[in-house]
């Protein structure tokens, strides 16, 4: 290669002399910006773990100092040639100085055909804008990855967690114990709804301020179904103002179903479930006003909440309502904990609907979640212990191996 390069330099010098002799241009101008050396080792490689359509072009730039960029052309596909038979090459990339600053360069081409081989050619742009000769690659067809191997650990964990939940559901059906610890906040639901009935006041249910694409809203609606059933049984008036149109629709479905399930479809009234506004603070202004005027005896806040959590909880407090909150929004838990009578923290909130249903299947699924937590605690303890051993005995073979094992476990979880 070096020999060729030297010969090429020599040839260009000779040419320069010839040009001077012909008197067309000055030797200095040509010598300062010679035609750049062509790219070498042009190679196509598949981009791993993708949906196909992408290939990486690699090439070597022999002399970055005289190269200002590169042009990549792709051979026209059959379809393109059917349209225009004269079309042979299509320019797909024109790269700047950065692409040839180092000797080894690469560029990823996307939107390529997965059905026929792609062939590319690369030319280096010289500092004066002149193109070197094109160098062609071997043809290659992008490969399509059906299953992403890098997500295998995730797949395994999803499978394990799902199997744990499903396994406990099956076990519960076969008669295993579904005893679950008492959750005070959920035990208080009956009492709160009952008190509202006695006092002749309403029950307020706020399903958060997010739309149905948030799993917390979905969980809130499932809890609403349970609370609505209790309210229907007690014949208490349940009001559900919503912040989103679709949530209003879903809440109406859930409450209507609950009235059917309670055997009192005639007491269902769509007018108690209303859309207010999508605006967070507009919704809060309405709720604050409504709470001070109507003085509901029980307030439920179940869903995704942000800054409004404290406004709601403090207003509920000032009217003396029993307040039960549930959210998985970590930043708002402190305010509910400080101002509500009962708060379902994170996972407890997600278990609420299942707990309130009292069905064996659902209680079993809650026990399945415990398997997940046991897995988490076990992995953390094992991993941390192995890493501790590695840290304490850095120089011994045993310590090194244990530490390595710890790192492997940590890497499995993505750390």
């Amino acid at each position: 290669m070096a020999v060729l390069f030297a010969m090429w330099i020599g040839a260009s010098v000779v040419m320069a002399d010839a040009v001077v002799a012909a008197g067309v241009t000055s030797a200095a101008a040509v010598a300062a910006a010679p035609m750049p050396p062509a790219a070498e080792d042009v190679l196509l490689e598949d981009v791993p773990e993708d949906a196909g359509g992408a290939l990486s072009v690699r090439w070597r730039t022999p002399d970055p100092s005289v190269s200002a960029g590169a042009v990549i052309e792709r051979r026209a596909t059959d379809a393109e040639r059917a349209k225009d038979p004269n079309l042979l090459w299509v320019e797909v990339a024109r790269l700047g100085k950065d692409a040839v600053a180092l000797q080894q360069s690469a560029h990823v081409l996307s939107e390529l055909s997965n059905s026929e081989p792609t062939r590319v050619r690369v030319s280096i742009i010289g500092t004066d804008g002149e193109l070197s000769e094109f160098v062609e690659s071997e043809p290659l067809t992008p490969s399509v990855t059906i299953f992403s191997l890098s997500r295998l650990p995730l797949f395994i964990v999803v499978l394990v967690v799902s199997m744990a939940v499903l396994g406990w559901v099956v076990a519960a059906r076969m008669g295993a114990s579904t005893r679950i610890r008492r959750i005070a906040a959920l035990e208080a639901v009956d009492e709160a709804v009952g008190r509202a009935t006695e006092m002749g006041r309403t029950v307020l249910f706020v399903p958060g301020i997010q739309d149905m694409n948030d799993i917390q809203t979905i969980a809130g609606i499932t809890v609403l179904g349970r609370v609505a059933k209790t309210a229907a049984e007690y014949d208490a008036r349940l009001e559900v103002p919503t912040c989103r149109s679709i949530v209003m629709t879903a809440a109406r479905e859930a409450v209507q179903s609950a009235h059917l399930a309670a055997g009192r479809p005639e007491t269902y009234s769509e007018g108690n479930i209303n859309y207010i506004t999508d605006e967070q603070f507009g919704y809060v202004a309405y709720l604050s006003g409504q709470m001070t005027r109507e003085k509901p005896a029980a307030c439920f806040y179940m869903g995704a909440f942000y800054a409004e959590s404290l406004v709601l909880a403090e207003n509920g407090n000032s009217i003396g309502a029993i307040q039960i909150a549930g959210t998985a929004e970590p930043s708002q838990l402190p305010f509910f904990v400080a101002a509500c009578d009962y708060t379902l923290i994170g996972e407890e909130f997600f278990a609420a609907s299942a707990y309130l249903s009292g069905e064996r299947d659902q209680l079993g699924s809650i026990k399945g979640q415990d398997v997940g937590k046991a897995l988490a605690i076990g992995s953390i303890l094992v991993g941390a212990t192995l890493l501790t051993a590695g840290a304490l005995l850095p120089d011994s073979v045993v310590g090194g191996r244990l530490g390595f094992l710890g790192n492997v476990i940590r890497a499995f979880f993505g750390g």
Binding site: T145, V161, S257, N274
Partner: protein
Amino acid sequence: MLQRTIPMLILSASGLILILAYFSPVTVVWSDTVVGWFNILAGVAFVLGAGNLLAVNLEKISARRPGWAYAAITLASFGAMLVVGLGKWGAVPNPSFPDVHLAGDQDSTQSAYGWVYEYVLSPLTATMFAMLAFYVASAAFRAFRAKNIESILLLGTAFIILLAQVAAGAFLTNWIPEDRWYSFVRAEQLKEIILNVFQTSGMRAILIGIALGTAATSLRLILGIDRSALSKG
């Protein structure tokens, strides 16, 4: 069948498809597509929300219920905003297409919509948000009166963190040397310890719990174990 079984099948199928789609590079983009569809669905669903808003307030007005005048104000402001915003009243023409009125820009206060946003909507929402300062104070005051170890921990931590953020914290604890074993009681070091050790580990466990809760809730819905959100009866 149409009202119970099919929706359940739709729910399960769409859930399973989206779970599996995440594991293949070919289908991982489906979630973006679905989010796009949802946004359109939510946009069209505003018809339901607007219909409900109109129905509730018109009913209040026509029945002369107490407070019907407020319902009229709500309707009037709703209608006015909708009309000026859809018609782009007073919008600044688009420099490239000054002849297409609806291509104009209505973000500045020059347009009616921008004016309402700037001088009605944002002062209202900002003030509502700012009222939290009062509510934070009253919540802290109540927690202060509840004398159990939990509320003392909550309030005590909040107090230390607050102190470390203001000049008083430094003023009170700066006399403690910085490099002794007991220097962790300096306000700023105490804050670091609370945030990096206690809050980090607490949040970590909460997040693990939330993840399991989310996963189990999703599974209960997809497998049809919890049908309270959809099925009638």
